[in-house]
Symmetry: C2
Subunit: 201 residues, 2 copies
DNA sequence: AAGATTACGTACTGATAGGTACAATAAGCG
DNA sequence: CGCTTATTGTACCTATCAGTACGTAATCTT
């Protein structure tokens, strides 16, 4: 049984390229032509490989979460590092990604999610965004609930509140990155907020 | 000299309607058809009255700033109210607008500004957004620099840093509003951050 | 009432959106 | 080599985008 002509492009490289286009233009702003141009393929190849624009977006979003979001989580579980330092390192690591010169500024999810309420993003993609976007908040809350140091500091009794506070700052930071301020300005902001946590009971 | 047929619509009501469409869909997502439908007029009327889509957007954005942003600033200058309480009232007032059921969730400026980096918004409109978006940050920094109570609390020496911190939280809150959480969850976040300011020197 | 002036409604423009039909090309298998 | 299978490029589809031409309707001044 013949197996046909080989693909002339690398599927995961094409997905990476698509991710960058969605990241900089959003779901609505990323046209198929812009996508396929950056991916280095033409439209029929894109449709046969990924399905359609929405399916491409879903694969691209999953790739973003795996390659850009999850790696930062390791900072939260470093052995022999104080809890607040771990949280700070995690946040600084994400901020540093938001301001990275080699990829679009800000957060892919924030950008695309802002289009949700306008009904511009298809339902299935919209649900995925909603779900993925909660990830950091849930992880931080879980950490605060289970970490022994968090209990000593009395942070476990208001874990959801604190997780939401930190998460709100991260989202705000993504907005600030988009608006063009310098990364150095955000660092003391993270310091301030984390220091504020420690001084309450 | 004859003065012609009267307009069959109210110009400022039409602008208000356009503002809500941009607010919920963003600049790119708001199509002329959606705009004129909501405004209750047809396209030639829109073009003769406002110029084009970009000019309408600029007028709509100015209207947003005047009607939705500036009114909150009064909280910052209430007599006989402690500084941190004034700031807290200001922030809660904005958060409450972001979650208001009668208008789109989140912040008009955050939404539209997220499209900037993708080059989807025309230059002139883009510059206006950039400028207006700094307003709250500048106002808070100025307040911290001039207020006598701020000096007593030692907040004047890091006014820019604090203003940026508060502003980042407001932007984050706008994102959270878009993603659908309940307003009550944001209130302790504002509390946390402001309390954190007070406990540092 | 006549004429000038302005707004309105319909119907259109060229460009681009997402998506596809189809013929040509390249690979594996016998 | 010939057959089958899969990918590629071009050229097209319909719908919608921002924007406009033009004839009709309404209001003013004289």
């Amino acid at each position: 049984m013949a197996s046909g002509r080989k693909k002339a492009f690398n599927e995961s490289q094409a997905l990476e390229a698509a991710m960058h286009v969605f990241w900089s233009k959003g779901y609505v702003g990323a046209s198929l032509s812009a996508l396929t141009d950056s991916m280095g393929i033409n439209k029929p190849s894109m449709y046969s490989t990924f399905g359609n624009k929405e399916a491409l977006f879903i694969k691209s979003t999953s790739h973003y979460v795996e390659s850009q979001m999850k790696p930062h989580l390791q900072h939260l579980y470093q052995a022999n590092v104080p809890l607040l330092t771990r949280i700070k390192n995690y946040m600084l690591s994400i901020v540093s990604m938001q301001f990275n010169e080699e990829s679009p500024k800000g957060c892919y999810l924030v950008l695309c999610q802002s289009e949700l309420a306008g009904g511009e993003v298809p339902e299935a993609a919209s649900e995925l965004l909603q779900e993925l976007d909660d990830l950091p908040k849930v992880v931080i809350a879980d950490l605060l609930n289970s970490d022994s140091e968090a209990k000593q500091l009395g942070l476990d009794t208001r874990s959801n509140e604190i997780a939401l506070t930190l998460y709100t700052v991260l989202k705000g930071s993504a907005s600030m990155a988009r608006s063009g301020i310098a990364q150095e300005q955000m660092l003391p902001v993270v310091d301030n907020v984390i220091a504020g946590l420690a001084t309450r009971h």
